[in-house]
């Protein structure tokens, strides 16, 4: 290619990147269209929008609110202090509301708004009594209620206290009032309850900081007070603090390390800048094209895609090392075949993944492949044109380093094979996998303990387990919920240790309500006359009471959800679904073990029938299963890609192919064997780390064979593994499990790549080059 042609290509690439920047700017004009739901990574037919909606509905309370439990000997005074401190946050506009006084939660009297529905609402016990013809036995208790000093009798509207009986059966809140404070009485201890409502997102940093500072200050002033926290905002704040801490420790150490190494080798700050240009150009190219193709981007894609582009640092370092050492004698043409092969082998691996049926993997693979191509083009087209102030020190260092790292003997192929077989056996015997979400939970243990204790004290759940019930119309849905309740009641009577919340207990079907009204008519016959007579009231009271029955109206779901009591159950109602049906949930809390899960699953199947209109969902298990599926798919396609690459390498390198594949595959095996021996389970995150190890290992293998005699190649391999080790391997020290696993994999894997490379370097490169020419 002519010099002018090369320059033109460089400008063309610049034009393309400019276009990308404009296109990207246009696509981002409304913000980044990012997905966070894990299921968005699954094929469309595997997604369950209704379950996603149910999850969101149930999670809302946990996201928008927080709850504090305060236990102290001086409870009243400390609660006041904390309540007032938090009130200043409300006044400053950081929080929407904080409830802690007795009257903060006082509802209007249910008698005021439940009145005209009461004749259609009967508890099962009363239904049975009236059905048996024993309605007369209800007179005596009604009489007692009428004359109790603490009751509020109403002989006309409700002489038998139908409403009180029905309300008593509804799940009440465990939060009561004492000493003018919202109070929870558990295990002989009184806890003050403070409920905060957020104004915006739980991830809002200024709000998190203000809340954190207020609580810290309170705890310093009242060291004896026990404060339990629950709510997403605390987990989000802990995560943000941890990230900040790690950026200032691990992040700073990595950056400093990379700066020192590059500065030491090249003696020029400009090289550092030139290191970043291809990575940035690659990211721009990848982000634009991926968004353009897919329309949306998953946050996981962005995170891992950006990490995978890190492989491109290889191209930069190989080019720069060669330039620094060869000086004016540098020729791009000499380096181009290995650079091209490095790119192709990595891109092939990603293209293989882009063909999978998993949209998540496709996105990630496309992002990484575009990114690598973009970075590679930038390296090849632009970097040689930037001036490089080559220091003679770099060449001296390369030679000295090359001599220092000459192994005393070389790895024979048979030994490599035996080693590989041994490692495979270890992996096969010992390697485990764990996709559970608990393993990846980044929240500190103390906060998780708080969360569990609060939920246990309050008998509350975060809605992580529920039955999703669907039907063609509301009445069928209520009936189905009702049979679900009945099945659950039977299971609970048989020893299942769970509790549940369901709408069926609050809103009977229209038919059931009509039947209840008939029963009340029966009760309002002779038993009513008896009651009125014994209470010493005039007989016309009975007539007035009977007249009220005509005003009775059926209670609908919408009516109920509008009442102050029903508001607590709004999260259970999903309403109309996409297929013109309706859906609701019954939330389960209590014992959580495999046996319970199986029983609940069986209940769902029995009630849901063959059309599976009742589904049992365990969010934690479900997300774990999704992550596992993603992991297995990735593993499968990576293995296929590796097989494909091996074929391509065998085609080019023939008998020397094993020398190319030992660094990437060997490092992968070493990582897996180390995990097997160390008892580290395999999950999606350390597996994505393996992709990085494979890419960098393969580049190292190719350059090691192509430029076997050049100290510059060895220096570049060293620099590339070292900088990647610093950038990714250091993440092993992160307290965020996902980053820890990714980092641990890179730490072991990249170190293994670096150690393996010298041992598989071709013995006599000159002879091999001759062979190659004969073949070629």
């Amino acid at each position: 290619m002519t010099r002018a042609g090369y320059r033109r290509l460089g400008w063309l690439w610049f034009a393309i990147l400019t276009l990308c920047a404009i296109w990207l700017g246009w696509m981002l004009r409304h913000g980044l269209p990012a997905d966070t739901d894990l299921t968005a990574l699954l094929p469309a037919d595997r997604q369950a929008p209704l379950i996603e909606q149910a999850d969101r509905e149930l999670g809302r309370g946990f996201e928008n609110r927080f709850l504090l439990l305060l236990g102290d000997d001086e409870r009243v005074a400390t609660t006041r202090a904390l309540g007032q401190a938090l009130q200043t946050l409300v006044d400053d506009g950081q929080l929407a509301a904080i409830d802690w006084r007795e009257l903060d939660l006082a509802d209007a009297d249910p008698h005021d708004w439940m009145g005209h529905w009461r004749y259609r609402l009967l508890t099962p016990a009363w239904q049975q009594i009236i059905d048996r013809g024993d309605a007369g036995t209800l007179v005596e208790p009604a009489l007692r209620r009428l004359f109790s000093p603490t009751a509020r009798p109403d002989p006309v509207a409700d002489p038998f206290g139908l409403l009180d009986t029905w309300l008593a059966r509804l799940p009440g809140s465990p939060i009561g009032a004492a000493d003018g404070l919202l109070t929870l009485d558990r295990d002989d201890r009184q806890w003050s309850v403070l409920i905060g409502e957020l104004k915006g997102s739980p991830y809002d940093m200024p709000m998190q900081n203000a809340l954190h500072a207020t609580l810290e200050q309170f705890q310093q002033q009242h060291p004896d007070a026990e404060l339990l926290r629950s709510g997403l905002v605390f987990h989000a704040a802990a995560g943000a603090r941890q990230a900040k801490h790690e950026i200032s420790t691990i992040g700073a150490a990595s950056l400093l390390g990379v700066l020192l190494i590059i500065g030491f080798v090249f003696r020029s700050p400009r090289v550092l800048l030139q290191l970043m240009v291809p990575l940035l150009a690659g990211s721009l190219f990848a982000l634009t094209l991926t968004l353009g193709f897919f329309g949306r981007l998953h946050l996981l894609t962005l995170a891992f895609g950006a990490s995978l582009i890190g492989i491109a640092i290889d191209y930069v370092l190989h080019l720069q090392c060669d330039r620094a050492i060869a000086g004016a004698g540098f020729r791009l043409r000499r380096l181009l075949p290995s650079l091209a092969l490095g790119l192709i082998s990595s891109v092939v691996a990603y293209v293989a993944q882009a063909l999978t049926p998993m949209p998540g993997l496709r996105q990630m693979a496309a992002f990484a492949a575009f990114g690598l191509v973009g970075a590679w083009l930038t390296v090849v087209l632009w970097l040689p044109r930037f001036t490089l102030h080559a220091s003679p020190f770099t060449a001296r260092l390369a030679t000295r380093w090359w001599r220092l790292c000459q192994p005393r003997w070389r790895l024979p192929p048979w030994l490599a094979l035996v080693g590989a077989v041994a490692l495979v056996i270890i992996c096969a015997l010992r390697l485990t996998s764990d996709d559970s979400l608990e393993l990846l939970n980044p929240s500190p243990a103390a906060l998780m303990q708080d969360e569990q204790r609060v939920q246990q004290l309050l008998d509350r759940d975060t809605g992580s387990r529920y039955f999703l019930v669907q039907a063609e119309d509301t009445q069928t849905l209520l009936a189905r919920l009702d049979s679900l309740d009945a099945a659950l009641d039977r299971a609970i009577a048989d020893g299942l240790r769970v509790e549940y919340q369901s709408l069926a207990g609050s809103v009977p079907t229209a038919a059931a309500q009509q039947a209840n009204l008939s029963r009340v008519h029966e009760l309002y016959g002779a038993p009513l006359d008896d009651l009125i007579r014994r209470a010493g009231l005039p007989a016309e009271v009975a007539e007035k009471a009977r007249a009220r029955l005509d005003t009775s109206a059926p209670l609908t779901v919408a009516d109920w959800l509008d009442t102050p009591l029903g508001q607590y159950q709004q999260r259970l109602w999903l309403g109309e679904t996409a297929d013109d049906g309706v859906a609701a949930m019954a939330v389960v809390s209590g014992a959580r073990d495999a046996e319970t899960g199986r029983t609940l699953q069986a209940v769902a199947e029995a009630v849901g029938g063959p059309q599976a209109r009742v589904e049992y969902v365990d969010r934690v298990d479900r997300i774990g299963a999704l992550l596992g599926e993603l992991r297995r798919h990735t593993a499968l396609w990576v293995v296929l890609a590796m097989a494909l690459m091996t074929l391509a390498l065998v085609w080019r390198y023939r008998r020397r192919a094993w020398r190319v594949i030992v660094p990437p595959f060997g490092a992968t095996l070493i990582v897996l064997a180390a995990f097997a021996l160390g008892g580290v389970p395999l999950n999606i995150f350390n597996q994505l780390g393996l992709l990085l190890v494979l890419g960098i290992g393969l580049d190292a293998g190719i350059f090691n064979v192509e430029h076997a005699r050049q100290p510059s190649a060895w220096l570049a391999i060293t620099l590339s593994t070292l900088t990647s080790l610093l950038a990714f391997g250091m993440l092993a020290f992160s307290a965020t499990p996902a980053l820890h696993y990714l980092g641990l994999t890179c730490l072991i894997g990249l170190a293994s790549v670096w150690v393996l490379v010298p041992w598989v370097r071709p013995v006599d490169p000159d002879r091999i080059h001759q062979q190659e020419n004969e073949h070629g």
Binding site: F147, P149, T150, A151, A168, P538
Partner: protein
């Protein structure tokens, strides 16, 4: 010495009399001198939209700071026990929702627990120690929707409780034949 002691005792006894105001603290001390008592009651509930009323009679037992036992005799037999923690009837069933609050209020009224009552009511005391009357008016609007006002009357003990609701209902409890209990 005996003379001096006698003088002090006399002064202490006379002090409340000589003071101009008989205040709530004095009343509380006066009520506290009977830690436990028993007697009879008549409870009359007048319902505004009915011309007649619900009247019941029975006996009661009161142990300060512990419990009140309400033994209905006519027209129906029922034993209701109120403690600061719970309200239980003869069958051991708990009160209807919100009943605990009413029970707590009832207990605070019978005890003359002004400190607790003051958080929710404005208190006005009139009369002297032999014939006093305390009028309670709810402070918060939410409570005013349920209770218009309460009046307590008595001498050494509480003799009459009168509670009015905004819709015109009225609960009147008369306590009589009261005698202190020893021991228990």
């Amino acid at each position: 010495m005996p003379l001096r002691r006698w003088l002090i005792t006399l002064l202490l006894l006379l002090a409340p009399l000589s003071a101009q105001a008989f205040d709530l603290d004095d009343l509380q001390r006066q009520l506290a001198t009977t830690p436990a008592l028993a007697g009879s009651f008549e409870q009359r509930r007048e319902l505004a939209d009915l011309d007649s009323s619900l009247t019941s009679r029975g006996t009661f037992l009161f142990e300060r700071g512990k419990r009140v036992v309400w033994q209905l005799e006519t027209p129906v037999e029922e034993r209701i026990e109120l403690t600061p923690e719970a309200i239980t009837d003869g069958s051991g069933e708990s009160a209807p929702p919100g009943g605990e609050q009413v029970a707590q209020l009832f207990l605070q009224l019978l005890e003359g627990d002004w400190q607790a009552l003051e958080s929710r009511f404005t208190l006005a005391l009139s009369g002297d120690q032999d014939a006093w009357q305390v009028a309670l008016t709810p402070k918060e609007a939410a409570l005013r929707e349920r209770i218009a006002g309460i009046t307590l009357q008595g001498d050494r003990t509480i003799d009459r409780l009168d509670m009015r609701t905004p819709d015109g209902d009225r609960l009147e409890v008369r306590l009589f034949d009261q005698h202190p209990l020893n021991g228990s």
